[in-house]
């Protein structure tokens, strides 16, 4: 198999404020390689509002517009229009939002932009809770996970929202999942998205050591186990056509291997792990069914 060239450019400078082992820092570094220098990045409120560092410093070596929490889709629409009017049609507009700014408070703005098929790449950096404000639950928080607003004796009540299905049903040209443990896959998908026009959506899973209650050296391993256990399958939807990556077509490993390594699931009893496994299996079947349609 031909090895892919990872771009050597580094547009994430040193001295940023990310936690040790931050999945989102690895994710941003890789994403910036794929996005390239001629990118205008919109960052609604999220961990990455803080990580670049305080005024007057920034560790991001591209133009960045920090935006209100709600407004990823809308701000990007405005920037895109302005750049086009001013002759920068070949500049790329990208949004880097968290799961809060995508699944919850930002969903309306994203949905509106997607319905209008606004021309930008939207990356949802999903660490599965409102991590920047201290790990409160979002609708991206997995079933039964601990967060500060879903404590262990009353953990997350409902399964994670299926954001890929929601985005696909907006009839956008491209949606894909990606995660840090498969860097070539992540870069390939963003580079592919770059060649298209319209609303392109990337759902990027980034483990968070303080929020997932894991040691800081476990981020990449857990990202890989998320894929291998089919909790987070790697796939693309291009004009309604599904492609599931080979890695996800391999037989899934038991989800217990994934859950047991995380403090946020340490309160789970065996019957709950079984329920979780069942849900993962059902979700996988549902994905296969949709892929076949």
């Amino acid at each position: 198999m031909k090895k892919m060239e990872i771009p050597s450019s580094e547009n994430l400078g040193r001295g940023h404020l990310a936690c040790a082992g931050c999945g989102a820092a690895v994710a941003m570094r890789l994403a910036l390689k794929a996005l390239g220098e001629k990118t205008v990045l919109i960052i609604p409120a999220s961990c990455w509002s803080i990580i670049p560092g305080p005024w007057p410093y920034s560790s991001l070596r591209i133009p960045v517009i920090h935006a209100g929490f709600v407004t990823g889709g809308a701000t990007a629409s405005g920037i895109r229009a302005a750049l086009d009017i001013r002759g920068h049609e070949n500049a790329l507009v990208a949004v880097w939002a968290g799961d809060g700014g995508t699944f919850d408070i930002g969903l309306q703005s994203l949905s509106g932009a997607a319905e209008r098929n606004e021309d930008f790449i939207y990356i949802c950096n999903d660490n599965e809770a409102y991590m920047n404000t201290g790990t409160q639950r979002s609708s991206a928080t997995p079933y039964l996970a601990w967060t500060t607003t879903t404590p262990a004796h009353h953990p997350k009540e409902n399964p994670k929202k299926d954001i890929m299905a929601i985005m696909a049903d907006h009839h956008i040209p491209y949606a894909a999942t990606a995660t840090i443990s498969y860097p070539e896959d992540l870069i390939r998908k963003i580079e592919k998205a770059k060649e298209m026009k319209g609303t392109r959506f990337v759902h990027l899973l980034s483990p968070c050591p303080p929020g997932w209650r894991i040691p800081s050296e476990m981020s990449v391993k857990l990202s890989r186990l998320a894929v291998r256990s089919r909790v987070f399958p790697l796939y693309e939807i291009e004009d309604r056509k599904y492609t599931i990556q080979e890695e996800s077509l391999k037989e899934g490993v038991p989800v217990e291997q994934y859950l047991r390594l995380q403090g946020r699931f340490s309160h789970l009893k065996s019957h709950e792990i079984e329920r979780f496994q069942k849900m993962v299996d059902e979700q996988w079947e549902r994905l296969l069914k949709r892929a076949r349609c």
């Binding site: 220098e37 001629k38 990118t39 205008v40 919109i42 509002s49 803080i50 670049p52 560092g53 305080p54 005024w55 007057p56 920034s58 991001l60 070596r61 591209i62 133009p63 960045v64 517009i65 920090h66 935006a67 209100g68 709600v70 407004t71 889709g73 809308a74 701000t75 990007a76 629409s77 405005g78 920037i79 895109r80 229009a81 302005a82 750049l83 086009d84 009017i85 001013r86 920068h88 500049a91 309306q108 703005s109 949905s111 509106g112 319905e115 209008r116």
Partner: protein, 397 residues
């Protein structure tokens, strides 16, 4: 909807009979706005509809983003203005309230966005009619606020607004009354494109987004620096009255008409001065003239600029007044009429402080007839001091 033949060519010697909302649309057209982002709400809707029509016909060469909410409308304007283009939106009432968070953002980001707000009541209960509480309850957001009495003033103020906004790098809210102006036709002179181009040059943004310049906008600003940014905004606000006067002066020389920030009208010697803003002023002028003819010593003050609050100009306008009556078509619960409250604060440092009679009337579109205004003035004439901080007019028993 306007037919092709109906669309104003501008600059004709004849005036056109148009509504306040149409005046807004033509003001936007003449301002060469580049990005419009708006969400419909009664009674702003005909602005959005007229602009859609003008865009579709190529008369307005703007990109029109039909966003899914007012919050997104302002966010898109913020994005566009940051990107370096002239941006516009319009809304009313709940739409403005929904935008509230982003109003703060626009001024904090020093963006010269112009927003037209059609003054409408806030619910519950649902009420689509004339009321100033929506715009006045946003007076802390760092936006310049300009109120209009007539449709001509509406069109002219949109043009002036972009000049002011872009000079000082602060957003401007142009306000007109629901239905009384927005949906009522008046004779309006629509200036020619050439004449307006001579008055309003293209937007020259200071720090537009440049894909090849890696700078960050609006990032985290710690206590070590934030205070100085806020100081700069206040300083900019303090320059606004002079900037606005200068812009109006240039407008007058070019177009032969203009608008004071604060206008004193009627008799020079006023026992009672009635202060109003918006379309209500038109009715007030008639009542004051009638009462003056009957021998009463009454005059009027029209407040056009509410933010920044023009205390110096108001102080000058109220010179010699023994008593001041204010009619507020709005209320701040727990305090009373907002203009009255601001006026009292503005007069506080004066040695001679006339008593301020704060009338609240016309909320939710209750008609403020000449009789109602006369009642307020007569009450003020008949009393040495007001019987309370809030005097309700027209309240059903």
């Amino acid at each position: 909807m306007s037919e092709e033949s109906d669309l104003p060519q501008g600059g004709s010697k004849m005036k056109r009979i148009i509504t306040g909302n149409q005046a807004v649309a033509y003001g936007v057209m003449l301002s060469h706005v580049e990005l419009i982002s708006a969400y419909p709400i009664t009674p702003q809707t005909t602005i959005v509809e007229e602009l859609s029509e003008l865009c579709a016909r190529g008369r307005v060469k703007a990109q029109f983003l039909k966003v899914e909410s007012e919050h997104s409308a302002m966010a898109a304007c913020i994005g566009a203005s940051t990107g370096g283009v002239r941006a516009f939106t319009a809304t009313s009432s709940h739409g403005l309230a929904y935008m509230h968070e982003m109003l703060h953002w626009a001024s904090g980001a020093r963006l010269p966005i112009v927003l037209v707000n059609v003054n409408r009541a806030l619910g519950p209960g649902w009420n689509i009619w004339n009321d100033q509480s929506d715009s006045l309850s946003q007076r802390d957001t760092g936006w310049i606020q300009l109120y209009c009495e007539r449709n001509q003033e509406v069109l002219d103020t949109v043009l002036q607004a972009y000049r002011i906004a872009e000079s000082i790098s602060l957003p401007v809210m142009v306000v007109l009354d629901a239905f009384v102006l927005s949906h009522t036709s008046e004779a309006v002179d629509i200036p020619s494109e050439e004449k307006v181009d001579g008055f309003l040059p293209p937007f020259a943004p200071k720090y537009p987004v440049d894909p090849m310049k890696p700078v960050s906008y609006s990032g985290i600003t710690t206590p070590e620096y934030y205070l100085e940014f806020r100081y700069k905004i206040q300083k900019a606000m303090e320059e606004v009255p002079e900037v606005a006067r200068d812009v109006d002066h240039q407008f007058r020389s070019r177009f032969g008409r203009g608008y004071d920030l604060v206008e004193r009208y009627g008799k020079d010697e006023g026992e009672v001065l009635l202060v109003t803003s918006g379309a209500l002023t038109g009715t007030a002028r008639t009542v004051i003239q009638k009462m003056a003819e009957k021998g009463h010593k009454v005059g009027g003050v029209k407040v056009k600029m509410v933010r920044p609050f023009p205390s110096k100009e108001i102080g000058q306008a109220l010179q010699g007044a023994e008593k001041v009556a204010v009619i507020d078509r709005n209320i701040s619960f727990g305090v009373g009429g907002i203009l009255a409250q601001e006026l009292r604060a503005g007069l506080y440092h004066r040695e001679k402080k006339p008593p301020v009679f704060g009338f609240v009337a016309g909320l939710g579109g209750r008609d403020i007839t000449p009789d109602v205004i006369e009642e307020a003035i007569q009450y003020t004439l008949d009393h040495s001091r007001p019987d309370g901080d809030i005097l309700w007019l027209g309240l059903k028993k």
